[in-house]
């Protein structure tokens, strides 16, 4: 089978699987999760296959596949992966499987739930491998809809508010993005939406045109990342979303934004991107410190983790803005790493919530005594998140600081010192949740279940593997990263 077909089926299979689940009669609801497990498992296998077949020395697109779609409009069903998108594809497949595993307790509208999860997976993968702007935009929007329903139906008490806020926020961004894409199409005069074909003509656009178009697109991307001050949808969405959805939201959805910056910036509108670099770097470092400071004083466990995502994604943006090989590589590693660690964090917070039916930090205390494995894993997650060497977070953050030290020395130093603040909010959380006197209300809190372990431990192992052998990940990324850095260095 041609690898391009395999690539296409990473989108089609979740869609087909989603249809299959939707068509299961009511009486067969209990089969929804097994089918979803099977589908996400096969998608992960395909992603692994693609990873193994990938030629790391080639910086360009691989496994490309093109089918006519709407030829009159100049848009085609064009897919492909390079060193920037393949890790994201893999991450999506990996986290989707774990999300399905972690959704064992979904009891209402099971079929709808798993259909939507699979649709979400298809949309996310589509965003990362689409090479046609219209196709990209369609997938971008496809992600929005299942996410809206997943939060709105299976979410917490304020789910409606959070879902609509999420929807409107990102819809506003999407409109700007659509405007940007159409302007790009019109300005270049190229009769195609193909990103590869469009690139040389887009790069020739005037600085003013590039800046205007990129600003519109960057607005949408910045909301997704999210960059301060466009982040306020995130804490609400996270707090209300069910656990598995939070995992995908923090683990993958946010990366749509930073991935878009890499795809649209250096590769499509380099001059416009360069123009915005000072602002991106500034907002990146502001996000790092602001997110960490807000996390420090949260009383809600899930909000704390949500703000920590804002802070960690700031490193990604600082690395991208730096534009050096180390910076972009660091950003890419950090994107992958944050996917793993944030996934771990939300699974753990979800496990704590299920046991206590509250996310208030003060409702816990001394849980190491009653649930040592769960508590120990929370400690593990915290150290991974604060960038302890030997785990993936260190590799990404260290590379970002190294890569940005040349172009943005002050920002780089601030980002380096912010790790103390990161350690501060995480260790303070541990002190109140895991350590100290046992809170009597938690006296009979059960320890980690097998299902939870099955969802969480693979993430722990992956975090360690990348921390100790980063070449596994870097090897795939480096050629494409170098080509991005070369464009920006020129």
């Amino acid at each position: 089978m041609a690898m391009g077909t395999v690539l296409a089926w990473t989108i089609l299979l979740p869609l087909v699987g989603g249809v299959a689940i939707a068509l299961i009669p009511q009486s067969g609801s209990k089969f929804a999760r097994p089918v979803a497990l099977l589908v996400t498992g096969v998608v992960l296998a395909m992603a692994t296959w693609l990873w193994i077949s990938f030629n790391p020395a080639d910086p360009g697109m691989q496994f490309e596949i093109v089918r006519d779609w709407v030829p009159g409009l100049g848009t085609a069903f064009h897919l492909g992966v390079d060193g920037l998108s393949l890790p994201m594809l893999f991450l999506t497949a990996f986290l989707s499987l774990l999300a399905v595993i972690a959704s064992a307790r979904i009891s209402e509208f099971t079929r709808e739930y798993f259909t939507l999860i699979l649709l979400l997976e298809a949309g996310l993968i589509g965003v990362f491998i689409a090479l046609d702007l219209i196709l990209f935009y369609v997938f971008w929007e496809v992600v929005l809809i299942p996410m809206f329903f997943l939060i709105n139906i299976w979410g917490g008490p304020r789910r409606r508010y959070a879902a609509i806020k999420f929807f409107l926020y990102t819809l506003a961004g999407s409109l700007a993005m659509l405007g940007g894409i159409i302007s790009l199409f019109l300005a270049t005069g190229a009769q195609t939406f193909d990103m590869i074909a469009l690139a040389p003509q887009a790069a020739r656009l005037s600085l003013a045109a590039q800046t205007a178009i990129f600003t519109a697109i960057a607005f949408a991307l910045a909301i997704k990342v999210p960059m301060v001050p466009l982040h306020t949808w995130l804490p609400d969405a996270h707090v209300e979303a069910p656990t598995a959805v939070s995992v995908l939201l923090a683990g993958v959805l946010l990366k749509m934004g930073s991935y878009g910056f890499l795809r649209f910036g250096p590769q499509l509108l380099p001059d416009g991107f360069e123009r915005l670099v000072p602002l991106i770097a500034l907002l990146g470092v502001v996000s790092i410190v602001y997110g960490a400071a807000c996390a420090l004083v949260q009383t809600d466990l899930k909000k704390l983790i949500a703000y920590s995502s804002v802070s960690h994604m700031g490193y990604v943006m600082l690395g991208i803005a730096a534009g050096t090989a180390a910076g972009v590589l660091g950003a890419s590693v950090q994107m992958f790493s944050h996917g793993l660690i944030a996934g771990m964090a939300f699974l753990l917070v979800g496990a704590y919530y299920e046991r206590a039916h509250t996310r208030e930090i003060s409702a816990f205390g001394g849980t190491a005594r009653v649930a040592p494995i769960l508590a120990g894993t929370l400690v593990f997650m915290s150290f991974a998140s604060l960038g302890l060497p030997g785990m993936s977070g260190f590799i990404g953050e260290f590379m970002v600081v190294t890569g940005s030290f040349g172009p943005f020395t002050t920002y780089s130093a601030i980002a380096a010192f912010a790790v103390v603040l990161t350690a501060g909010y995480l260790l303070w959380m541990l002190r109140r949740v895991v350590f100290g006197q046992l809170n009597e209300a938690r006296a009979d809190m059960p320890d980690m279940t097998r299902t939870e372990a099955a969802a969480i431990f693979p993430l722990c192992i992956a975090t360690l593997c990348i921390g100790v052998f980063p070449q596994v990940l870097v090897g795939v990324m480096e050629a494409s990263v170098e080509s991005v850095a070369k464009i920006l260095g020129a």
């Binding site: 709808e112 259909t115 982040h231 400071a293 060497p389 030290f405 350590f435 170098e482």
Partner: protein, 639 residues
Amino acid sequence: MELAAYSWVLPLLPLAAFAVVLATGRKLPRQVAPALGITTVGLVFLASLYLASFTASGQEFQASTEWLKFGAVTIDFGILVDPLTATMLVVVAFVSLLVQVYSLGYMAEDDRFRWYYGAISLFTAAMLGVVLSNGWLLMYMCWEVMGLASYLLIGFWYADDKAPPAAMKAFLVTRFGDVGFGLALVIMFLTVGSFTFETVFHSVETHAWAGPTLIACALLLFMGAMGKSAQFPLHVWLPDAMAGPTPGSALIHAATMVAAGVYLVARSFPLFEASPVTLTVVGTVGTITAVMGALIALAMNDIKKVLAYSTISQLGLMFLALGTGSWVAAMFHLMTHAFFKALLFLGAGSVIHATHTQDLHEMGGLWRKMPWTTATWVLGALSLAGIPPLAGFWSKDEILLSALRSGQTAFLVAGLFTAALTAFYMGRATLLAFFVAPGPQSKSAHAHESPWVMTAPLVVLAGLAVTVGLVGSPLMGYAFAGFLGEHEAAEPSLILAGVAVGIATAAIALAWSSYLKGFFEPDGYFRSPVVTKLLSRKFWMDEIYHHGVIRPVIWVSEGLRRTDNAVVDGVVRAVGWVGLRISAVLAVFDRKGVDGAVDSLGNSVTEAGEVRRIHTGNVQTYLMCFVVAVVLLVVVFAR
């Protein structure tokens, strides 16, 4: 193949012990955990003896392997076995071995006995990694893992009130220093393009790398050393770290990890030598710390706190030695200090085990009850006080000599002053714990000598505290300095040695006459309220951090959180509200124009209550559209 080529296995042995404990938890038979820990570290100790003799024969071993490669950049990880490494290996493995044997007795009753051994093994693995690596990046990575192990051991008794905050404080303060270490790596990478000792030293020697970036790099490295080695003003974490189990304190917070900063500077010495200003900084910080630590130790009543401030002070002395240019003297003192301070901590542990108190005033008269503990403690204390011919005398003498020869009078005077204070506070602690008649609140009555697994390590360490100094003394031709590669010994000064011993003896005599004989009022210097306040409040350093750093950070963060909610999100909500109002007005004019999608969206905003039904209705409609769309897509694609 040379056996030394397998040195990379050494850290992996205790790491494997840790992994087994972590993976098996309570399923592991209770006694297997210490068996694993002690066996692995015992093997490491034997190997390190071999490596010491290997390097003593003038051989070195170095090997690297590629770790990370992108573009033109290649980062290697490797090991280096040279005399400096071998010295550290022997010290770390030996103290770790003795501490683990001792813990068989000390921790026997503890519920989390296995985990204790796991954490000690993790620490040992990380520290072995620090001293074996042939470059700063790998060293930094192990250094941080060492910080994690320290955090876990300080917080071991997590249900205690003091342990969790102490663990957090230790990690945060050292991590602050480590940011400096990390930035030093960044500068090194951007200027030299390598993290390997050999490569970087080469570019320093050839002056390919010089100037402000080199100075900055050296100072930032020192910042890391200051955190780990508890140097002023980053010393505040170490006294609190005493909340951990005492044998763990002996290993990590007295003998080995806290000395890693000294090792770091000694290892990186060419970087410091290249810019003398950095040495002045190192020496000055060390001097301030040495004096300050010794002063505070005078006023501490907790036996472990006395030792903790003593450790801070002695580490300061080592940095003082580095500042005068003698890394060999610093390493010599590091080694002797590791043995006699581990001895004192384990001795304190023995006392605490017997009396269940750490307060010196609740002890007294223990020499009758605990002869072995008393005898070994006294030897350790005399060694620390610098009484010849015990180990501490020789190494402290080398430091003072180096200060004398470098012509930096301030360092010399401070060194002598510290020596006097040291002899006094050790005299005070020794007399209060073991020799004064037990007071009314004394808990000594039911004390008894500790089991042999605890006293045997004390005896072994006492033997070393007495003798190990000889290897660096003129009596053995400065063998230690020669081993480290320094063959030109500074000419000894009998006068200096005489003055130092005289001062120490006088200080001990003063302590003896105040605390035992009552010629002077015990703790009489407390009569001065200023001194009392200054010392017992530890120069208000904790308060300064609390009000100057922690409170402002929380305050600013709280402000940001409120702003985030009220202003940043407020704008968003205002936009949403305005949007809703406009929609409402439009709806009045054109009710029919509002299409179904907006309508249902509006419903979901405004209608409370049984919205879930409506939504699931939506979702089903939506899913039907989805089914049709997918079928079309597959048809298009498969065409």
